[in-house]
C-alpha cells in the first residue's frame, strides 16, 4: 500500500513537470519583459501577458511551441525599430496582442508579427497599428490567421508594406481579418492550397488582395473597397473566387479585379459595384463567370487580348457605361443567358428569354480600345447614332460575340 502511494506520488510529480507551465508577464510580476518570458519558457508553455505597454522589439522565438495570450490587449510598442515579434517554431499560437509602431525600412521587411519556417500555428485576434508590414509569413504551412485588425497610414508605395503578406507557403487560412490603409491588403506569392475568407480590405494604397504565382486557392466572402486598384490576380491557376464584393475602386487607373495570366478558374456570385473597370482580363483562359452582378461600373468587363474559352453565364449587367470592351474581331468566349440592362429587345413567346440576341460590344468601346483619345466623344450624339447603326449591322465588332439568350428579368441568385 505504502509503495503504491509513493508510486502515485512519483507519477504525480512526473506529470506536473511534463504539464505546461504558465508564465505571467506584467509590470509588477517577477517576469517583466516578454523576451525574458520567452527565454524562460519550455516547449508547450503558456505565456500570459497582462495589460500594459511593453516597449520591446525583435522578440525572438525559436523552436519553442508556445501559447502566447494577451489579456486586456497589452500593447507592444516597437518604437519604430525593427520587427516586433519574430517566430520560427511549430505548434504555437499568438492572440490578443496589440502591436504598434513597427519600424520602416527600405532594405528590411519589418513586420508586426514575422512567422518563418513554421508549421501548424495560429495568429488570432491581434490588433496591429502603425505597422510597416503587418503579419508576414515565409516558408510556412498549415497556419491560421484570423480576426486580426491591421491598420496603418500608408502614404506612398515605396515606404509602406502589406497588411498580411504570405510568401512561399502552403495551406494557410486567412479569415475574418480587417486590413485598412496599407500598401496591399493581403499579398500572396507562391502560396498554394490556401483560403482567404471573409476579410475586409479597405483604403489600401495599391491592391486589396494581390495574388502572384499561387495555385489552387479559394477566396470567398471578402469585401474590397476603395483600394487603389481592387484585386489583382496574376500568373495563377485553379483559383476559386466566390461571394466577394468589389466596390468603389474608382479612379483613372483603377479596377475592381485585374486578371492576368489566369487559367482554369471560376468567379461565382461576386458583386462588382462602382468601379472604373470591374474586370480587366488579360491572357486568361478557361474561366467561368457565373452569376455575378456588375452594377454602375465604367466598364463591366474589359477584355485585353489572348483571352480564350471564357464563359459568361447568368450574370447581371446593370447600368454600366460599357458592358464589354473588346480588342480585335476574334472571339472565342461565350456569353449566354445574361441579363443586360441595355437590352431593348422583346419576348413574344413569354419564356423569359429575349427573342433578339444582344450584342454587348458597342462600336464606340471598340474605337476607344483602338484610339484611346476617342473617349472625349463620350455621350456625344454622333456616337449614339454610330452605336445604333453598328448594332443593326455589325462591321467592326466581333460578329459572333452575342448573347443568344438574353434574359428579360434580372437574375436572382
Amino acid at each position: 500500500m505504502g509503495r503504491l502511494f509513493i508510486l502515485f506520488l512519483l507519477l504525480g510529480f512526473a506529470t506536473t513537470s511534463i504539464h505546461a507551465q504558465e508564465i505571467e508577464v506584467c509590470k509588477s510580476c517577477e517576469v517583466k519583459t516578454i523576451q525574458a518570458a520567452v527565454d524562460m519558457a519550455e516547449n508547450g508553455d503558456v505565456i500570459r501577458i497582462k495589460s500594459g505597454t511593453y516597449k520591446e522589439h525583435d522578440i525572438t522565438i525559436i523552436d519553442k511551441s508556445l501559447t502566447i495570450i494577451g489579456e486586456g490587449l497589452p500593447v507592444i510598442d516597437a518604437e519604430m525599430e525593427g520587427t516586433a515579434i519574430s517566430i520560427r517554431a511549430e505548434n504555437f499560437s499568438i492572440e490578443g496582442l496589440k502591436i504598434i509602431n513597427v519600424g520602416r525600412s527600405h532594405t528590411n521587411d519589418f513586420a508586426g508579427i514575422l512567422v518563418s519556417n513554421s508549421k501548424n500555428f495560429e495568429v488570432k485576434n491581434n490588433r496591429l497599428d502603425q505597422v510597416f508590414f503587418g503579419i508576414l509569413l515565409e516558408r510556412s504551412s498549415e497556419g491560421i490567421i484570423s480576426g486580426n485588425k491591421v491598420t496603418s497610414n500608408a502614404k506612398d508605395q515605396a515606404t509602406s508594406g502589406n497588411g498580411v503578406h504570405i510568401w512561399k507557403s502552403e495551406k494557410i487560412t486567412v479569415k475574418n481579418n480587417e486590413v485598412i490603409g496599407l500598401r496591399d491588403g493581403i499579398y500572396l506569392e507562391f502560396v498554394n492550397n490556401s483560403e482567404i475568407i471573409d476579410n475586409l480590405c479597405k483604403d489600401n494604397l495599391r491592391y486589396g488582395l494581390h495574388f502572384m504565382f499561387s495555385d489552387n486557392d479559394l477566396y470567398k466572402g471578402n469585401i474590397f473597397e476603395n483600394n487603389g486598384a481592387g484585386v489583382a490576380v496574376m500568373y495563377s491557376k485553379f483559383i476559386d473566387m466566390q461571394d466577394n464584393q468589389f466596390r468603389k475602386n474608382w479612379g483613372s487607373a483603377s479596377y475592381g479585379l485585374l486578371l492576368k495570366e489566369i487559367n482554369d478558374s471560376e468567379l461565382k456570385n461576386n458583386i462588382f459595384e462602382d468601379n472604373t473597370i470591374a474586370i480587366s482580363a488579360d491572357n486568361t483562359n478557361r474561366i467561368n463567370y457565373i452569376e455575378n452582378d456588375f452594377k454602375n461600373n465604367g466598364y463591366a468587363i474589359r477584355i485585353r487580348g489572348a483571352v480564350y474559352d471564357n464563359i459568361f453565364e447568368r450574370n447581371n449587367f446593370l447600368y454600366n457605361s460599357f458592358d464589354v470592351a473588346y480588342t480585335g474581331r476574334l472571339n472565342d468566349n461565350k456569353f449566354n443567358n445574361n441579363y443586360w440592362s441595355g437590352y431593348s429587345g422583346y419576348d413574344l413567346d413569354k419564356d423569359g428569354i429575349g427573342d433578339v440576341p444582344f450584342r454587348p460590344v458597342t462600336l464606340f468601346s471598340y474605337l476607344v480600345n483602338r484610339t484611346p483619345e476617342a473617349i472625349v466623344l463620350l455621350r456625344s450624339m454622333f456616337i449614339d447614332m454610330l452605336d445604333f447603326s453598328e448594332k443593326v449591322s455589325p462591321i467592326f465588332t466581333p460578329a459572333d460575340l452575342i448573347d443568344e439568350q438574353p434574359q428579360m428579368k434580372r437574375i436572382q441568385w
Binding site: 479612379g251 483603377s254 484610339t371 483619345e373 473617349i375 472625349v376 450624339m381 454622333f382
Partner: protein, 260 residues
C-alpha cells in the same frame, strides 16, 4: 435698345412658344427626378438633353422669330431708332426669354427636390451656365442666317444644317481624324478640337464635373489637368464668350449695311 429689348421680351413672354418651352423643361425635370430618384444621375441625363436640344431650339426659335417679326422690324426701321439697337434688342429679347424658360423650367423641380442640400449643386450650375451660353450662341447664329437670307425656306434649311454640323457631323469628322492619325500624339489636338465647337466644349465641361470623368482615362487626365486650372477655366469661358461675341458683331455689321 433697352426699350426694344423690353418689347421683344414682353412679346415673347406672351407667346405660346415660350410657355411650351418652359413647360417642356419643367416636365423633363420632374419626370427625370421622379424616375431616377437621384440628383447626380438626373444631371447626367439632362446633359444629354441640353447639349442637343438647347442649340436646336435656340436655332429654330431664333430664325422663326426673326422671320415672323419682319413687319414689326420694318415699322421700327422707319422710326428714328439706331439699326444696331433694333436688332440687338430683338436678339437679346429672344435669347433672354429662352434662357429664362430653361433656368426656371429646370430649376424649379430641382429646387423643390432639394438641390440646395445636395452636393450636385455645382454640377447643376455648370449645366445651366452651359445651357445659357448655348442659347445665346445659337440664337445669334440663327439671327445671322436669317439676316443674310430673305428666303425663309433657305434660311430654315441652313440653320438646321449648321446645328446638324455642330451637334453631329463635327464629332464624326473629329472621330475620323482621331482614328486616321492614331499613330500620332493626339491629346493637344483633341483638346483644341473640342474647344472649337461650343457643343463639345460644354459637353466636356459638364462631363469633367461628374464622376464619370474617371472613365476618360489618360486623355481625361490631360483634359482635367487643363480644365481644372484657372487658365483652362478662363480659356473655356473666353472661347464661349467669343462664340457669342462674333455672331453678335456680325449681326450688327450686316444690319448696318442691309437694304430693307
Amino acid at each position: 435698345m433697352l426699350k426694344i429689348l423690353k418689347y421683344s421680351f414682353y412679346d415673347l413672354s406672351r407667346s405660346r412658344w415660350s410657355y411650351v418651352y418652359f413647360f417642356f423643361y419643367l416636365l423633363l425635370g420632374v419626370v427625370l427626378l421622379f424616375l431616377n430618384n437621384d440628383l447626380s444621375n438626373a444631371v447626367i441625363t439632362l446633359m444629354n438633353v441640353i447639349i442637343i436640344l438647347v442649340p436646336l431650339i435656340g436655332t429654330i426659335f431664333g430664325v422663326m422669330y426673326f422671320y415672323n417679326s419682319r413687319e414689326f422690324t420694318e415699322l421700327l426701321l422707319a422710326q428714328p431708332v439706331r439699326r444696331s439697337s433694333i436688332f440687338l434688342g430683338q436678339y437679346l429679347g429672344v435669347a433672354i426669354s429662352l434662357s429664362a424658360s430653361l433656368i426656371f423650367g429646370l430649376g424649379l423641380p430641382f429646387i423643390i427636390y432639394g438641390l440646395f442640400q445636395s452636393g450636385a449643386i455645382w454640377d447643376f450650375a455648370s449645366l445651366l451656365i452651359s445651357g445659357v451660353f448655348l442659347t445665346f450662341i445659337f440664337t445669334a447664329i440663327a439671327f445671322n442666317i436669317a439676316l443674310s437670307h430673305e428666303n425663309k425656306i433657305k434660311g430654315f434649311g441652313l440653320a438646321i444644317l449648321v446645328w446638324l454640323f455642330l451637334a453631329v457631323v463635327y464629332d464624326g469628322l473629329f472621330l475620323l481624324s482621331l482614328v486616321y492619325f492614331q499613330d500620332y500624339p493626339l491629346d493637344k489636338f483633341s483638346l483644341v478640337a473640342s474647344m472649337l465647337n461650343p457643343i463639345d466644349l460644354s459637353r466636356i465641361l459638364i462631363l469633367l464635373k461628374l464622376d464619370i470623368s474617371a472613365l476618360l482615362g489618360y486623355t481625361g487626365a490631360v483634359f482635367k489637368q487643363f480644365f481644372g486650372t484657372g487658365l483652362g477655366a478662363f480659356t473655356s469661358i473666353v472661347v464661349l464668350i467669343l462664340w457669342v461675341i462674333f455672331p453678335v458683331w456680325r449681326i450688327k455689321r450686316i444690319a448696318a449695311k442691309k437694304d430693307f
